[in-house]
Symmetry: C2
Subunit: 430 residues, 2 copies
C-alpha cells in the first residue's frame, strides 16, 4: 500500500537537507564554543575548507548549486526547543548544566554567518569569516555536507538494487568490525565519525551497530543529535583550534610559547574529571610535555591525534612517571586514523599500563573502500580549519609533518619557538 | 511518518501467509499436472513429507497450530483471474496456450484436498491423499511452508538490528556468488529454489539479484508467481514423480521395465523442443539409456539430478554419440546440489562439447550457512514425494543410493528389474 501522504511530503522538499540541526555536530565543538564564548568572544577568525586529497576534484563531482542549497539550509537553522532543553537539562560527563545559561541564550539566538564559496582548479574554496564562536560552528556541517554530497554524487547513478547490495556490503563490513572488537575485555570505543561520515543516516546506523554489538564497550558518540535521539552519551573534549587561535593571537615569541598552556589554563578553570584531556601535539608533543606546568600532569589524560600512536602513549606514560603520577590511573585517548586492527593492537599493548579509550572516526562511519567502481566512495582527507585570527595566520605543526598547516615562514618561526626538530612523516589516509 | 493504514492492514492478518497463490509453485508441477490430468487423471496417490535431515526436529521447532494455519490457508486459495489469464495467455518455452482450455477450467475450480498431520518423534508426518492431479500440487507449498516456518522460528527470537545484519550478510553472499558467475561466457542459469527457499520474499530477492547481475545468463525461474510478477521466463520440465507413479501402476515386471519410457512417450506426444528433456536417473541412468528407444535419443536434452554430475554428462554424451546424435546440439541440465564452484567447474568442463544449463536450487535461495548461532538456518534436506499409487508403494533408486526411497523388498525388485548393480553413495546436503 503506497503511503501517499509520505510520498507527497517527500516531494515537498526543495532539497533533501544533509544537516537538519545545529546540534548535528561534534560535542567538543559546543564545549569549545562555550569556552571561546567566555574567553575570546570577539576574536575575528577565518575558517577555511582544505581538501588534502587533491585527486578528488570536488568541484567536478559536486554541483555548486546543490552545495549552496545545502549551506544555505544550514544558515536557516536555529536551535529547536527540544535541542535547547536537552543541552540545558542533560547530564554530560556526569555533570548537570554543562552549558551555562548565558551561553545557551546566545546559542538559542544564533544563526550561522555567511559563507564565501568559489571554484578554483576543480576544488571548492569555502571560507567563513566572523567572530570565533559563530564561525567555529561551521566546521562540522561544512565537512559533513561536502562528504555527503560526494556520496550522493556517486550513488546518484546507481540503481535501486545496486544500492541495496552496496549498503548490504557496507553493513556487513561494519558488523564484522564490531564482531572483531567484541572479544576485547574492557575496551572503550566512541564514535568520532561525524565530520567525514558517508551520510547522516549511515552514521546513525553505525552508531546503532556499535550499541547493539559492543554494549558497555561502546562509550558514546561525538554527535550531539544522535546522542540526543538515541539517548546515549555525547563525548569529546577539545581540539587543535583552541591552541591554533590562541597562538595566532600571541603578540611575541614568549607569549607564543606560553599560548598552548593558556588554552588549558582556561579549560582547567571550566572543566574537571574526564574533560581534562590534554591534546599535546599542536606544536609537537615532546616540547609541549617537557615545558608543561606541573598542574597539567594532574589532568586525567591525553589524546593522541598524530604521529605514531604507541610512541605518543609511551611518551605520555614516561612524562607522567617523571612527574610522579601513576600512569595506570591515567587515560590515553587514541583518535588518529583508527581501524579495528590498530584498536586491537593498541588495546593489548597498553592494557594494565594505562587506561585507554578510542575515538573511532572515518573508518567507522565511512568505510566504503572497494565497494564501488573505481573506489569512488573511498574516504578522503578533508578538514575545515581556522586559518586566520585577528588578521594573523594560524599554524599547526602536529607530530606528523604531513598534517602541518600555515605559511612557510610562520611554520619555521613556530618550529623555532617550540623547539621542534626532525619529525617522522606518516601518510594521512583519513 | 507512520503509515497508519498499512499498519492497521498488517494487523488484520490472522496469520502472515507463506503461500499466497496456487501458482507460487514450480512451473514443472503445472506441466506435469496437465500431463497427469490428460493421461492418469483418476490415479489415487498418497504424497508424504520426508525430512531426510533427522537432526532437525521440525516438530520441536515449529508450532503445530501455526503449521495447520498455513496449510489451511493454502486450502483456501484458488486461482485468481490474473493468474489464470497469465497461464492461458502467456508464452512458455516459445509456445502459446501451453495449458489447454480443459485443464485450465479444471485448475480454475481447484481447491487443494485435505491433509493429514501427526507429530511423531520430533517430526511431522504430513500426508496428502486423493487423485493425482490435485494431490501433486501440494508438494511445493508443503515444502516451502515447512522451510519458511523453520526460518521464522529461528528469526523470531532475533532483534530488528540482528535481522538487518543477517539479511545484509545473506545479500552480500548472494551477490558475491552472482559476481563469481558473471565472467562465465554463455552460461545459462535458472532459479530452481522454490521448494527449499528461506522464504518467499528472499527467493524473490535472489531472483532479482540474478536478473540484475547476470542479465542474459539468467534463464528464468521455476517459480510461476515470481515469473509472472517479474515478467520473466517460467522454466522446468518434468520430475521423478511421473516415472515413480507410472512404475507403481505397472502390473508386472515387463510393464515395470517399460514404464519410464511410457512416461516419456506421453510427454513426447504433448511437448517438443526444449521441453523434451530426459530425466534418466529414477531407476539408474545407465540402464535407462541403454534400454531407451531410438526416438528418445532425438530429444533435446537430459537432466542430471543425482550421482556425480560430470559422470552423468559423460554418460549422456557417449549415449548420444552411439545413437548417431551430435552432442554439441544437445542440452545437459545440471540440477543436483549446485553452488557456484560446481557450476563454474561443470561449465568449463563441458564448454563446446554439449550445451549446458544449470538449475540452481537451495544454495541459491537458502544459503544462510554460518550466519546464525548454531548454524540454525543452514538448509536441510526435505522432500515431499508420491509414496503410493492406487494402493501400491512407489520406489525411487536414483544414481545415489542415499536418495533411494521405497520398501526394501520393492527396492530389491526394482533393482533386479532395472539391472541396477553397485552404486556410489554421495552425501545429500540439500
Amino acid at each position: 500500500m503506497v503511503d501517499i501522504a509520505t510520498r507527497v511530503y517527500n516531494h515537498k522538499w526543495k532539497i533533501d537537507p544533509i544537516v537538519r540541526s545545529l546540534i548535528d555536530t561534534d560535542f567538543y565543538k559546543l564545549l569549545m564554543c562555550q569556552s571561546v564564548f567566555r574567553n575570546k568572544r570577539d576574536t575575528q577568525v577565518t575558517f577555511s575548507l582544505i581538501n588534502r586529497s587533491k585527486s578528488i576534484r570536488l568541484a567536478d563531482l559536486i554541483d555548486e548549486g546543490e552545495l549552496r542549497e545545502q549551506l544555505d539550509h544550514v544558515r536557516s537553522l536555529s536551535l529547536t526547543r527540544g535541542e535547547s532543553t536537552w543541552l540545558r537539562g542533560n547530564t554530560f560527563y556526569g555533570k548537570r548544566q554543562m552549558f551555562r545559561p548565558d551561553f545557551m541564550e546566545w546559542f538559542e539566538n544564533l544563526r550561522l554567518p555567511p559563507y564565501h564559496l568559489e571554484k578554483i582548479d576543480g576544488q571548492y574554496e569555502l571560507t567563513f569569516e566572523g567572530t570565533w564562536p559563530e564561525v567555529m560552528l561551521w566546521e562540522i556541517p561544512a565537512l559533513s555536507i561536502l562528504m555527503e554530497l560526494r556520496s550522493r554524487a556517486v550513488t546518484g547513478d546507481m540503481g535501486r538494487f545496486e544500492l541495496q547490495v552496496l549498503y548490504a556490503r557496507a553493513m556487513t563490513r561494519v558488523w564484522e568490525k564490531v564482531e572483531k572488537l567484541q572479544p576485547l575485555q574492557g575496551v572503550k570505543i566512541a564514535d568520532f565519525g561525524t565530520r567525514r561520515r558517508h551520510s547522516y543516516l549511515w552514521q546513525d546506523w553505525c552508531v546503532q551497530a556499535m550499541t547493539e554489538g559492543l554494549g558497555d564497550s561502546f562509550a558514546g558518540t561525538s554527535n550531539c543529535l544522535i546522542a540526543m535521539k538515541r539517548d546515549m552519551e555525547a563525548v569529546g573534549t577539545n581540539a587543535h583550534e583552541l591552541p591554533m587561535v590562541y597562538a595566532a593571537l600571541a603578540e611575541n615569541d614568549t607569549a607564543l610559547r606560553q599560548s598552548p598552556y593558556d588554552v588549558l589554563a582556561d579549560w582547567h578553570e571550566e572543566h574537571e574529571g574526564n574533560l581534562r584531556i590534554i591534546l599535546p601535539d599542536t606544536y609537537g608533543t615532546k616540547g609541549f610535555l617537557s615545558g608543561a606546568p606541573d598542574w597539567l600532569a594532574g589532568w586525567t589524560g591525553i589524546r593522541i591525534d598524530s604521529g605514531d600512536p604507541a610512541t605518543g602513549a609511551e611518551t605520555a606514560i614516561k612524562w607522567w612517571t617523571e612527574r610522579g603520577e601513576d600512569p595506570t590511573q591515567k587515560l590515553v585517548i587514541f583518535s588518529d586514523g583508527l581501524d579495528t586492527d590498530k584498536i586491537i593492537e593498541l588495546h593489548s599493548q597498553f592494557a594494565g599500563r594505562v587506561r585507554t579509550s578510542f575515538g573511532w572516526g572515518t573508518l567507522l562511519t565511512n568505510d566504503f573502500r572497494g565497494l564501488t567502481e573505481n573506489n569512488a566512495l573511498a574516504p578522503f582527507s578533508i578538514v575545515c580549519k581556522a586559518v586566520e585570527a585577528n588578521g594573523r595566520p594560524t599554524v599547526k605543526l602536529s607530530d606528523n609533518p604531513n598534517k602541518a598547516m600555515g605559511p612557510a615562514d610562520e611554520v619555521a618561526r613556530y618550529k623555532r619557538v617550540f623547539g621542534v626538530g626532525e619529525q617522522v612523516a606518516m601518510d594521512v589516509v583519513v
